[in-house]
Symmetry: C2
Subunit: 405 residues, 2 copies
């Protein structure tokens, strides 16, 4: 017999210091047609190479693997991160103490919020952006000021106007949050002149830039990304740079990082609530990336280009003019827009029942607008799943009266 | 040229929302004679078995390893945790949704504090206890009420008296924090009658118990630990149970957990700041523990018994009557007391310079008392390092005038 049954149930309400929140349990559910995530799928996992990296690095690092993890992350992991930022992003300034590994990029964002913002502080963002950041900014009770976009991303004229307006109110935003390379969810790539302008505005108005670079490796029709904002002259003190290995390996391996001025990184490191991230997986990732990073990125993008093309074709076949979208040159998503009145938010649970998962556009907006949009990921499912799943999505939407027959 | 040099350095002071705190960088330092940690050392790491577990589980779980980690932790990891709690601790009530994996037990403690306490709340603890919990409770600005101990742990008569006193002030403590099996740092094992009494008091005074069971596997001269408080009748709703695999594998592999009433666990899961803990290392630990847990514990304790005996002998040889201690029957530490006036806090940096690390007793007290004490770990160093390091410690203390020549 359980104690609770004997004693009667305790009322815990006097204990709670934080409001009830839903647990994101969807992560345990497996959908047959999963267009919701943001990661390479099981069909492109480098199982042999990863298993060999794990086996090898445990032997190589046997003298240190018995220890507590360094707060900043394993030195070997930070070294491959420095190499990646220099080789891929033109960032030559971070030193080993200007990089902090984090448990996914989500922990990096949270650490920035905890060390840099109080509830009520103002930050500037895109109108639609990464749903995890939307949730984190709302949970922190920030004042989220959004700036409209065009096909090249956030409009700098509107940003300048808004910064000016805020200044006249006596408000200095804590930071501008941006995902320029390419944007999540819309896939646009911010051109170099806008990057320079954003940095100049951050300097002029004395604010910081939080540059989320999680999708930079997914280059499908571009040979090279514009350099990171963090790599521009004068950026070192102004830009906090966040990136991850999740998108080229797996988000189950939670090795991400934040780079920034030593003072910023030190403050964040001191407020990591968990002593340190996993040493073992940090070392496995380091070993894997030392041996396979560029080949892995190139292989993934070849496969992903095919998956993207499959999805674009399937959307065209099944929705025709009822869907509008830009074919993404980079990243993992189609940011689809359905006819006015379509409620992709209401449809989410219905399609999930049928095995199709996507993320409704409302999740990417701090005000919850965007219900006629959906973010559709093509990197996780197989090409066959993309074809079948998009077909099923269209059928369910027709059955539900969301699309004309 | 760095931007910072050109532009002049930004004053970040207007950004900070949390006070400056030291980063625990000691974790990156390697000491020749390390008596500071709380983990098995490199000499007893099961490198072959761990490497094989990693290789094998990556193949076995290739269909799910590409996914985001479940918020509660991998199902396979939680299953071996349920098995361990039932087999070793007599805990039959936790189900798969009453267990949450955490990034080390430190994250479990932090999640309890964040969901259950506000600054200023009262909690009850031992006079000396786990230094990480001391730091976390102080950082949360709790009112920490300590209860004196005897050789069997916290005194229940004093606990009852204090609860009564607090009640008359209108104060209900949020929880009683206890490490009964055995205590850290003093190694005492709380007898069954005190466990039952503590639970009865928690019920009577309507508070919770936070039972930290991180050292339960280190049984040197005992065949069986008393059952966990969490296993007693009526405990299910009253006790939050924290434990870890760090002490039988490595703290670099950060797989720990918290078990409790489903409502408590759900609240904590929703406030994990990092989506989920590392999936890969969670699975590697599950595989390793499925195949090796009991053999590993038994092998470790055989080696550790020898290391403990070596340390007790070395302390006797080098300090004689100038050190007093109880020979621990369980756990990883000697809780040594030096003559009155010895300042082990002041000596810490001096001995570290000479390659000897221990933790001064003050770190285990919320008021910073206990400077004439030190916690000396014997599980991490080799027997030779124990002999040499304790000799060196005595020499340094004599040189510094802390001990008579």
């Amino acid at each position: 017999m359980k104690g609770g049954e004997l004693m009667g149930s305790i009322d815990y309400s006097r204990f709670w210091t934080v409001p009830e929140r839903p647990v994101p349990t969807w992560q345990e559910e497996v959908f047959q047609y999963d267009f919701g995530g943001a990661n390479p799928g099981p069909d492109v996992m480098p199982i042999e190479e990863l298993a060999e990296a794990a086996r090898a690095v445990i032997h190589e690092e046997k003298e240190i693997i018995a220890r507590y993890p360094p707060t900043y992350g394993p030195v070997r992991t930070r070294e491959i991160i420095l190499h990646k930022m220099a080789a891929h992003r033109g960032m030559t300034w971070p030193t080993i103490t200007e990089v902090l590994t984090t448990n996914g990029s989500a922990q990096g964002i949270t650490l920035c919020l905890e060390t840099l913002t109080n509830p009520g502080d103002t930050i500037i963002t895109d109108r639609f952006f990464y749903q995890g950041a939307v949730r984190a900014f709302i949970a922190r009770e920030l004042r989220i000021v959004t700036i409209d976009r065009d096909e090249d991303g956030m409009r700098m004229d509107l940003l300048e106007q808004k910064l000016d307006e805020l200044k006249s109110e006596g408000v200095t935003p804590k930071f501008i949050y941006t995902i320029p390379s390419p944007q999540n969810p819309d896939g646009s790539i911010m051109p170099p002149d806008r990057r320079a302008k954003m940095l100049a505005l951050a300097q002029e108005y004395d604010t910081l830039i939080l540059e989320d670079d999680c999708y930079v490796d997914q280059m499908l029709d571009v040979d090279e990304m514009p350099p990171a904002i963090a790599s521009l002259d004068g950026a070192q003190e102004r830009v906090i740079y966040i990136a991850t290995f999740s998108k080229i390996l797996s988000p189950g391996v939670r090795v991400a990082w934040v780079a920034g001025d030593e003072r910023l990184i030190e403050r964040m490191a001191a407020y990591k609530q968990d002593v340190g991230n996993d040493y073992l997986s940090g070392l496995i990732v380091a070993k894997f990336m030392e041996d396979h990073m560029d080949a892995r990125i190139s292989h993934l993008n070849d496969r992903m280009r095919h998956k993207r093309n499959t999805m674009i074709a399937a959307l065209g076949e099944n929705f025709g003019p009822l869907v509008s979208m830009t074919v993404p040159k980079a990243g993992m998503f189609v940011w689809a827009e359905f006819p006015q009145g379509t409620d992709m938010q209401a449809l989410e649970p219905i399609t999930q029942e049928r095995g199709v998962r996507y993320l409704g556009g409302h999740q990417f907006s701090p005000t919850g607008e965007g219900s006629q949009r959906a973010r559709l990921n093509y990197s996780f499912p197989t090409p066959q799943e993309i074809q079948d799943g998009i077909g099923l999505l269209a059928n369910v939407m027709r059955e539900e009266g969301s699309l004309p027959d």
